[in-house]
């Protein structure tokens, strides 16, 4: 998928762990981990809203469109 999740970078900038974010947004650590590793197929607006609220950021800071990376991934399969 050409949509990359930049949660790792945001957490690093905010000096926050995934567990702390999970506690703040009310998601399970497993679900948040799926999102962070780019394995999620979809994200709810409510989840996006909660993460943006907890990290004081915009949805665009979390998600990035990277067509070149997607092409590289599909070619390596």
């Amino acid at each position: 998928m050409a949509i990359a999740v930049k949660l790792d970078d945001l957490l690093h900038d905010r000096r926050m762990t995934l567990t702390e974010l999970a506690d703040q947004v009310g998601l399970t650590l497993a679900n948040l981990s799926i999102l962070k590793t780019g394995k999620a197929r979809a994200i709810r607006f409510s989840t996006l809203e909660a993460i943006c609220g907890a990290l004081s950021c915009q949805p665009g800071d979390i998600l990035r469109f990277e067509p070149a990376a997607a092409r590289k991934r599909s070619a390596s399969r």
Binding site: I34, A40, A42, R44
Partner: protein
Amino acid sequence: MPRRASSTAALPIAYAVLRILTVANWLMGAAILALLVVMPNEQWIMAAFKLSPSPDAGRLIMGLRAVAVLGLVGIPLNYVVLKRLLAIVLAVRAGDAFVAANAVHLQAIAWALLGLQLLSLVIGAIAKAVSSPAHPVHLDAGFSISGWLAVILTFVLARVFAEGTLMREDLEGTV
């Protein structure tokens, strides 16, 4: 929500019935095979059906042989239906109804049912062709609206399961 007693009993009953039908199908196959082995003996068939030597009787025997061969072809098709249905019942009992495997099972069942309906058409046509006023042949075969509806329904259901599986995968991957 608690499941109703009838719905919880349906799966074990279906499982048992399908197991019994699978054995019955193999027994029927063995019986047809035995019939085909005996059939070359025209004297025996003439005696069993109280036929007198005539062109009609010869045609009838040929027709019955053809029907027996087609019946034998139907055995593996029946087996596909029963085996795949059993796999679906087991998957549903395990709480996994909308999985890709069930869509594939239903697709296979639909093709097998289509094959059985075509066989039924041919058997019906043969029965009609060899039947005569002196030796009427009444076989429960031929065109059946409910049979063809079952074929269409199963193809549609297979598609529904395939779509349901995709929706479930999407839902599981939604954060």
